[in-house]
Amino acid sequence: MDPFDDSYARVIVEHALAVRSGQSVLIEAGQAAEPLARAVHRRVLEAGGHPAVQLLPNGWIEAKAECASDAVLGEADPLKLAWYERVDCRVTLLALENVEQLAHLPPARAAASETGRLRAVHVLVDRDARGEAVWCGAQYPTAAYAQAAGLSLDGYRDLLGRALKLDQPDPVVAWRVQGERQDRLIAQLAQVDELRIVAAGTDLRVRVGGRRWVSASGRHNLPDGEVFTGPHEDATEGVVTFAMPSAWGGQRVEGARLRFEAGRCVEAGAASGATFLQAALDTDAGARTLGEFAFGLNEAIAEPTLDTLLDEKIGGTVHMALGSSYAVTGGTNTSALHWDLVCDLRDEGEVYADGTLIQRNGRFLGDFA
């Protein structure tokens, strides 16, 4: 077996899902990730679990977004629901063969496709919050991701391997250490009421006092490395510019600029993809409010790959999501949308906590370091 796959499988089964004997484990995977799916399947068997594998056929998502009725496209997949309502653990191995598979479609169709996916995922997220299930999404190196990141497949695989800590002597231990560092940061952030982000085109205030900060250190996302919370729904004020491109439901937006008043986005523009940005904001009533605010803390990821899962983890960035909040943070915003937008603070960026500078040029200062 490929050592990359086997090492990755160990992180998934031992660290992310922490599979125990007798647990049922659903392994979902893009067809390209079949080798990793098999490695995970073997490790689950070794752990005494009950693995089931469901591959996603190449072309399925695109075909559905093209052919399904609006109603069917926007609802949860009934097979996924049957599983998500029952399994103890579920991992999805993300392995797109074309990251632009929905780019030719009307934005509303792409958005409906993502809405339908999230409707099923929410069942798992809710069960996870109640301690009934564990879910994880894990990125697998494909030529599509490599091309989007401007890298060779080998180059992308190396980057992903570092971001996953597979280059460390014991990746599972390395993730535990990352988690401890994040816990120390959270101890400081828990005392903060207002965060102010200042950078080129950005001066934004979010209120986080009384909300819970959550450490993401390889349980739900792989790669991982962030701490996040759900900001007060009515308090976000100011302007934020996201220089990094961002994709949602297969549609890309570059240079998005949002202005908030009393928690709601009242003005939005973008260098490209403005139409889709507007469509996303009009998804529903909650789509104009931030559901998440987070610091990226993975130092092994330096360059944007045009893939939110990785970009939002870049050490020295913050990201915020339009749409639904995670109940665990105390956030109360609901929406079919959850769209992460990343703001790079490594070049002349500053973060203030209740007026005190705690991060400059992407580096935490003082007690926050």
């Binding site: 799916a37 056929p57 052919c67 009725s69 097979l79």
Partner: protein, 367 residues
Amino acid sequence: MTDPRLVRYAQLICEHSLAIDESHSLLVSTPPAGGPLAVATAREAWRRGARVSVSMAPEWSRSDRLRDGSDAQVAYLDPAALETVERFDRWLFVWAPGNTSELAGISSERDAAMARSRKPWSDRHDERETAGELRWVGAAYPTALGAQTARMGTAAWERFVYSALLLDEPDPVAAWRALSERHERLIDRLTGVRELRVVSDRTDLRVNVEGRPWESCAGAANLPDGEVFCCPPQGGVEGEIVFDVPSLQNGRVCRDVRLRFDAGVVVDASAALGEDVLLARLDTDEGARRAGEFAIGTNQMVQRAVGDTLFDEKIGGTCHLALGSSFPLLGGDNESAIHWDLICDLRSGGRIEADGEPLLVDGKLMV
């Protein structure tokens, strides 16, 4: 680009086999090799307004579990898998053969234990089907390994399979409906017949079919298809028959299986090749020595045996007889763990007589 034959195949499945509309939820169950047919069929079903989900499990998910799993892991049936039976009313099983030796070295006892664990699933599936709540079709998809089993090139096998599916016809759905009408005429002729006599070079067999309902198979549950069959009563088979179309059993070939029936029971059996396999299967249980089905193959686009029963039993101008279990819905009362279709070629010098009148001569139906 999607192979245009696949688009026609998908239309055939959705229109003719499953009659899919916006009220339905279709589950496509396929191995990875069948992905293109799964996606093509889903496109057609989505266009008809249906919900469509896919369950694509690789072969190794079964073989690794059988090889490395504990007894408890082998015998585990996930409650979610059981629940899926309740949530879908249309099922497509894509039959896209992989490596027929994937389970080599695994004890058949473990395989049987896994099969037993699936019984609540298949029982519930059957129950819903019988209640008219659920329809399913199994559809062949040509793969390189399927071609290898048929001892053909991959592209040649694709042509063979699509031809057998009547996809070369101008309107495949109309072609299957036409076959269905031919079946109805044949069944009209067979209804009221007391005894069929199969005569060929080394065959002279009498099958009592009096009062037994005949079933038409014209693409509703199998693709390709093309046969009419009934379940003879226990004790209703007399004489001798040689099945000259080879039968592949778990990687072993049985050739020229010869059976002699006395009062419905096999009393003498031999085979030119694979006789040990034959004798072992006859000893499976009491019902394994009795016929559970007698059928006439009617697909004129299948004209050569390829070692896959799904195709071979449909060859126009053959008949087949199954040792083992029968179909209770058709009055069959033979029970067995096996259902083994054995095929007799009647295309050169063979005939079937219906109460003494010629019904099929040299493979051609006289209806």
